[in-house]
């Protein structure tokens, strides 16, 4: 099937109709100096048979891992029905429709999604999704600065995902917004509210509060939110949607709750796949809705009094406000959102709470077993959701490599992002792990953690 449906004759006829000789003529007004010379590093196209063979060969190099790696993307069980339904022809598109109101089914699904996310976050409104959790945080920072009006500085704890912080810097630094790093307690693994005193009266637009934070540790969210309110700043909550089934939602945090909540939607029915596509969610108070980026689906009545769905508050968006739009976000991760909506509908509030409770219980079990080993100790005293940090006697890179040779992804090496923590390893456990998985991890860790490995065995690379 050709990717472009126009035949050469079609193209010639269309060019003739508008009086152009070639397609390049259509770009005449772009000066030659600004045109790309083409993609010199991309090899010429190959046939379907050949590319299928190449892809099969590469797929064979994939290995099946026993994974304890989380750090922002999480392995959860996805009921088979989720993607069976999501890939139906009626849903199978990444885009919100361009003739939106002609696609009532898609709009209804997005409306249901928004309803579920407001229910999870206990806030008033959400949009139809963003690209991912990291860019959602950047959008929340921009939004908070617009809402606050007088300050362009935002407090950002070091316990926020390091990649999220990098993405925020990339997206806001050209808008004269200053991100001020807030330190954390290296014993407990979270921000200490009293340590914020030095920022009091400093004119900040918002305080970012991750829950759970990057270390899996629970932040004292009530005190942090109350402090932000006392100091005339908004609270931006960065949350894991699965954890919200058992943790108090951001809308109900201290002193009236957070103002904006966002996060990565991947844990809700989206598989781990080379980093994406995932999706971001963002929710806020009704009074800030005009500063929220992206598309919002609303429910209304048609002329005959029947319920219908429609895109609403579009005057904020770039097709109307052009460069003054709240964001350049127009499309979104519709397909991943479709899967998440079906996932949430299938598991329901009780099912999601069971997923969260099982993950939390499993994490605590594995943490206890690992820290009973010589050479492994718990890095932080703070309570966790489903991830925890251990400190090893041996270098983390060596240990992870040794575990990898046994088919185990042992977690994330924190040495680069948090050198102050020494040999620190971030471990994640979800509801997908069982007793024998813990045994396998612990048995192997016992062999590697206590000693310095001079030459770690390497994973075998299959020949191609």
């Amino acid at each position: 099937m050709p990717f472009i449906p126009h035949t050469e004759d079609d193209v010639r006829a269309m060019l003739a109709a508008i009086g152009a000789n070639t397609i390049d003529d259509l770009f005449d007004e772009i000066p030659a100096s600004l045109r790309s010379a083409g993609l010199t590093q991309v090899p010429p196209g190959v046939g379907e048979m050949e590319i299928t063979r190449v892809m099969h060969e590469r797929a064979q190099r994939d290995r099946h891992w026993l994974s304890f790696l989380g750090a922002g993307a999480y392995e959860h069980h996805i009921p088979a029905a989720v993607w069976q339904i999501a890939t139906r022809g009626e849903f199978y598109s990444a885009y919100t429709p361009y003739q939106a109101e002609a696609s009532q089914g898609t709009l209804q699904l997005l409306y249901e999604y928004q309803t579920m996310m407001t229910s999870l976050t206990a806030l008033d409104v959400t949009n139809a999704s963003l690209y991912d959790g990291a860019s959602a945080l950047a959008e929340a920072v921009l939004m908070a600065v617009r809402v606050h009006k007088t300050s362009k500085r935002v407090l950002m704890p070091a316990t926020v995902h390091p990649v999220y912080r990098q993405v925020v810097h990339t997206l806001v630094e050209d808008q004269d917004i200053e991100i001020v790093d807030v330190p954390y307690c290296t014993d407990c693994g979270h921000v200490i509210p009293s340590a914020l005193r030095k920022y009091a009266g400093g004119d900040y637009a918002a305080l970012v509060v991750p829950q759970p934070n990057f270390f899996g540790v629970l932040e004292p969210v009530d005190e942090l939110t109350a402090w932000a309110k006392e100091n005339n700043m908004l609270t931006i909550a960065v949350v894991n949607p699965v954890s919200l089934a058992i943790l108090r939602p951001p809308g109900e945090w201290g002193a009236g709750g957070a103002d904006i909540a966002l996060g990565e939607g991947q844990p809700l029915g989206v598989p781990l796949a080379s980093g994406g596509p995932y999706f971001g969610f963002i929710a806020c108070r009704q009074k800030y809705v005009r500063q929220m980026p992206g598309r919002i689906v609303g429910r209304t009545l048609d002329l005959e009094g029947k319920v219908g769905y429609t895109l609403t508050l579009q005057a904020r968006e770039q097709h109307i406000r052009r460069s003054k739009a709240t964001s350049n976000i127009c499309t979104n991760q519709g397909l991943a959102v479709t899967a998440a909506t079906i996932y949430l509908a299938l598991v329901g509030p009780t099912g999601l709470a069971r997923v969260a409770q099982a993950s939390h219980a499993n994490a605590n079990t594995l943490a206890q077993q690992l820290t009973a080993l010589p050479g492994v100790k718990r890095a932080f005293s703070g309570a966790v959701f489903h991830e925890f940090v251990v400190e090893l006697d041996a270098p983390v890179g060596d240990v992870l490599q040794a575990l990898e040779a046994q088919g185990i992804l042992g977690g994330l090496d924190l040495t680069d992002h948090y050198p102050e923590l020494g040999n620190a390893l971030l471990v994640c456990v979800t509801e997908t792990k069982r007793r024998q998985d813990f045994d396998r991890y612990v048995d192997n860790m016992r062999r590697f953690a206590g000693r310095r490995l001079h030459s770690a065995p390497r994973a075998l690379t299959p020949s191609t």
Binding site: K149, T150, A315, I320, R321
Partner: protein, 129 residues
């Protein structure tokens, strides 16, 4: 369309009323609200903000468009009409009583140089044709 004779105007459809205490009151004209249609939201500048003449400082959003409001003269914002937050339709009902913000002005000459009612009427008429 009404254009009260005691007000000053800008070509970008703001009206300006000179108050006795050296401040001015700013709103959008009847012609502007007619063009926009039913207003659903008004965003006003922060009190205390310093504005330069011509600077974007407020947004009026209707069911079909969002339009910027520009500072007609330079000055500091001394008050905003918070009633409009919950009742933006007041601008549709009477755009000359539904003011947006008040400014303490820097340069009285800027006010004097604004359009008078007949000059603005001409601008609006040209707009409509």
């Amino acid at each position: 369309m009404t254009t009260p004779a005691d007000l000053k105007y800008t070509a970008s459809h703001e009206w300006v009323k000179q108050d006795a205490d050296g401040t001015v009151t700013v709103g959008i004209t009847d012609h502007a609200q007619e063009l926009l249609g039913d207003l659903v939201f008004v965003e006003t500048p922060a009190v205390g903000r310093k504005l330069k003449q011509g600077e974007e400082c407020a947004v009026v959003e209707s069911v079909k468009a969002a339009a910027d409001v520009y500072a007609p003269v330079s000055g500091v914002v001394t008050a905003v009409n918070t009633e409009l937050t919950d009742a933006p339709e007041k601008i549709n009902q009477d755009s000359y009583s539904a003011w947006l913000f008040k400014l303490k002005i820097d340069t009285p000459a800027e006010v004097a140089a604004l359009l008078d009612a007949s000059a603005y009427q001409a601008v609006a008429d040209a707009d409509s044709h």
